[in-house]
Symmetry: D2
Subunit: 361 residues, 4 copies
């Protein structure tokens, strides 16, 4: 009886206010800040009804808030607007329509556009724009240049979406690159990872980004290891639009796509160090130690032993703790653990090497 | 194509080691430490096949680990052993059988027993025992005394499980209380909350505990706001068996049962302060401020305004952030927020008053 | 090793085609057909970007398909179009835009409009229209009449959304009713149930409908007992637009809102009979029988005993089977079971009486 | 306000009886009956505290009921009983302890034992026993023969669990096979699939079974495509212990393991036919038809086109409907669809061929 009454009391309150709260529920994405930088979760390529997307611009902001994004770029197509008969062309409107909601929810909203030409040469996002109209130009280089004059950041989208052959690096890409009109590439777009883009970014010093390119509604309530948007982690010194731009120009990013984290080795290393926490052994025998390992980040980490000690392979699930027994000849000595995080891709096909030494007792 | 290959790479690794990891996956329960103390999650009343439970003692340890408990007491019935024909009486065995596994998993395992007499006077758990056999005595007071001589901590279980009438405070309870043979009460057991026990604990200075009294397997993978074990939060200065005992003797507990947190006002206040984080306003107008409120704990917090400003009612969902617009006559002044957390029960039927002042800009 | 290889084989295939299938996945809603009629699941009140909704019309069709709806009416506001500056008024467009997708997915799409005046007299949906433009009239009665001339079906939406006082039955409602310009009422809209509307429908022979009135994206993957759209079950003789209209005119509906099914007793009875399946006892003793009861419908059924035998109260969870032991003086006699389904509301505050007799062995 | 009251009414009832119902909730597994036979879901290899399992025998019955199994064999080890010090050897007790609960819940409970010798020759389950004690013999062949004398059904468990080398077919297996003391093999055990066993079963006419070999508690609430017990589908003419035995002796089985259904072609074909339902086209053009395909079974079906028409690859998710557009030169002709179900394994590495012709309009 008490049980029912008590529950009822609370249920009453819960129900009567449920509607007020739903819109404001935000599920943070557990990627820790790294040494010296804050980690922002960013989607820099999204669409609305103003081009070929299917949602009103404010929906993108609400989604971003709900699923824990910090930064959102709206980047409707300039040249492709299948809803034009019902939603007349107005390149700056998506941003303007969404801005108030973004301020209210504390989302950093970025004005962007997708320059949409044949493939090749492909599609390019220009973001951090002040006015999209000047980018309406026949010549691709001129259009991009018009974005850069405003301080825009340019990346080549999903280069191989029609296959590697149509995603080749052509003279026009060299031109853009040499004129400093190309600053980054999508190494991932939606569910697709592009190893070639990954390699080019490493070779040419381009910034790696990864985005959803979302057109329909985002049905997720939260981003989890099992199901999440492709996104760019940007490591900033300041949580602001300016801070994001500075970090992108400096190449401080990592890209979360499916089970993978893709990036430059230095940022992957920093992220791994911030994500893994190993306690001192809570139990010891002569030839074994038992240690707790906490994975504080939102993705499962898949480890493979490269050294002598520890389990040969192990998956540390997102936001969980695991306990391992490490067998050694002499547990009174320091124990070096050497592993590769196989799903932290430091280069195409290459995991990230990490190590840790368990101190002597 | 790349997409498939990449995924496959990871899937391969994931699958090949999945079995090794499952047993070691632990889902922490997000109740923060409070000012000056660590917060341990404890279940002090559980059963195994050695009395009328249905699982082997090690299963209780594995469950505790998986669902994020720090402390587990096995407390099989002394007088009631329906499996006796197959599992001969051996009061100390459940603890002995489970101890190795507990050490390995870093669970603080407590040897306990449930003294199981008619109701009234009811059932009593004695925990932190060294040997259960001396408690096998006809006289209830003598049995409990035998536990206390070993340093045992005694609490009256589910006093009203057969109704308030059979759960009355009788002379024998006064005797135990006066002889210092009764130190606490279950204010909650399984899904039942006992307001009368809550009141007695406040009046008599008894320690409040709440436990699962689990008999079958625990099917949960994690404890969530929606579904969780009833448990006792114990606020310790030291994460050890001794630390738990000291905190229980000092009454530093709170009990999580269904949507409720039950406890003494001082510990509820400390827990609320540690759980709520309010950022400085991220947006301001002349008559409004927008603030982010983070609920860092594992339960939904149901708030009701008692002061002048802020939404009348709101539920802060577990582990989420919410944004509120606070309307005031003059947003350039400090803004006092006064609320009752209606599901933090400081006394039967009484929520907990909390307040916070948004500083002037 | 075999294990990994085998899994991989399948995973490979699964991944490579995943994108093709997602859009086509439909989760049926388990409400059985009733004696003599097919049961269609209908949402007759929804919005798009063409009024104050936030999604493109095709999104409503995709949602309907995914979550198992059979019938969808788009009913954008005629008088309220906050996106007008960007999406110029064009009342018939939402239907036209969505129709191709609806045909492809086998959804019965209905052209509707919400006539949106002050409250009182409130908002009215007119559905099964051929052209919405003739409804653009200053006079409410004339606007509705223009819809009826086209064969439209008219219902009063969420009559008490601004409170019972502003939702009173006024002369204008009598006028509409007497002129046969009002055919039904929403007894539920979103999460709100309107007992007064329920009563009026019973008294005046109006058709009961219940709808989502959805504006944002539907985030559900499926409609479940725990979380679902408010919808109207329509009992048709023919699965077609004409069939739905005929059934609505005949009042053959029931409304699923939260944990409730609301309707006229005859249709609730037919639905209950189709939903419950009781097997002959699989075990018998002299004074007990054990029976399996299957709840074949998508909602939990909450039963309360009104007769002599069977458990006093029981919840039959959606799509599950339960086993009960029925104790009687003499199990060799037929056993009458008499219950009220308390969450089948045959009238405000009244559950539905049902009975079943277990035959003698 | 009405909303709250209405919900409360139901919530009240729901809560007050929740505890009565939980134990009786059963989630059926959606595999349809096949032409001429009923489909029973069976786990023929499980353990309890009476050998090296960790649960009381009744827990196995409760689990079976909850997750939708129809048939359960308890098969504790004869030679391996690590809990012997606390649970003295009594081979027949697990069955006896669990039988009452099984009858009450309508589960067909089978008395079994696992003869547990070195590998090779490996472990053998003997089920449908009347008394396990006669199987306690030093000689393996004699022990198995003692089981067969009682009418027992014998299968070789997880033959390659220590690798293919230690799982070879030896003279002793030939002896057993020739003496008709070996009737089946596990083609799957837990998460492992054994292609060699699959091949031997096809070559030698042995019955294929697949089982959980579960030792700890089953944490699942239901068996789903994503996560389920390995189990044997047995196609019976009579839902009884005798019916199951007859079907096993006749080899009428299929084994569900991970994403795979493993079996003899004839039973896989019958299962596929019963599981797939294709509606007549609901839309047609000159060169296309649109068809709805319903997968009525509990597992995802992965199809690959082997003929001319239809999508090249598609996954039909469990219990969902999908819609396909089939492009053909002339949609006024019958359209043959030819596919391989790649995860229905008719032989190691071979999917099952299926076909269907869409009739002309």
């Amino acid at each position: 009886m008490n049980r029912v009454k008590t529950w009822l009391l609370s249920v009453f309150v819960l129900l009567s206010i449920a509607t007020l709260v739903v819109a404001q529920e935000r599920n943070e994405i557990a990627f820790p800040d790294i040494e010296g930088y804050s980690t922002l979760k960013c989607d820099l390529h999204t669409h609305t009804v103003f081009s070929d997307g299917n949602v009103w611009p404010t929906v993108r902001v609400d989604e971003a808030y709900r699923v824990g994004l910090d930064v959102l770029a709206l980047s409707d197509h300039i040249e492709y607007q299948p809803h034009k008969a019902d939603v007349p062309t107005n390149h700056n409107r998506p941003f303007e329509v969404a801005l108030g909601r973004a301020r209210e929810l504390g989302i950093i909203l970025i004005r962007g556009a997708e320059i949409t030409r044949d493939t090749p040469p492909g599609h390019f996002n220009v973001i951090f724009l002040k006015d999209i109209n000047p980018l309406v130009k026949d010549d691709l280089v001129e259009a991009i240049a018009a974005g850069c004059e405003q301080g825009g950041f340019v990346f080549w989208n999903h280069h191989a979406w029609k296959g590697e052959e149509l995603g080749r690096w052509l003279d026009i890409h060299s031109t853009l690159y040499e004129k400093k009109l190309l600053h980054g590439m999508e190494v991932a777009n939606g569910d697709d990872y592009y190893p070639t883009a990954h390699r080019w970014c490493l070779e040419k010093g381009l910034t790696m980004v990864g985005n959803s390119d979302i057109h329909g509604p985002d049905l997720l309530q939260k981003n989890t290891s099992a199901e999440h948007r492709t996104m760019t982690l940007v490591f900033v010194t300041e949580k602001s639009e300016q801070g994001v731009l500075e970090a992108l120009r400096a190449g401080r990013t990592a890209v979360w796509c499916g089970p993978l984290m893709i990036g430059k080795p230095e940022w992957l290393t920093a992220l791994a160090e911030a994500s893994l926490e190993i306690d001192p052994p809570h139990m010891r025998s002569k030839t074994s130690v038992w240690v707790k390992v906490r994975n504080k980040c939102a993705m499962d980490l898949v480890l493979k032993r490269t050294g002598q000690f520890g389990p040969a392979e192990v998956t540390l699930k997102a936001n969980t703790t695991a306990i391992f027994r490490i067998n050694v000849p002499d547990a009174s000595q320091p124990i070096p653990l050497e592993y590769e995080i196989t799903n932290f891709l430091a280069a195409p096909g290459e995991g990230l090497d990490v190590s840790y030494t368990i101190p002597a007792p």
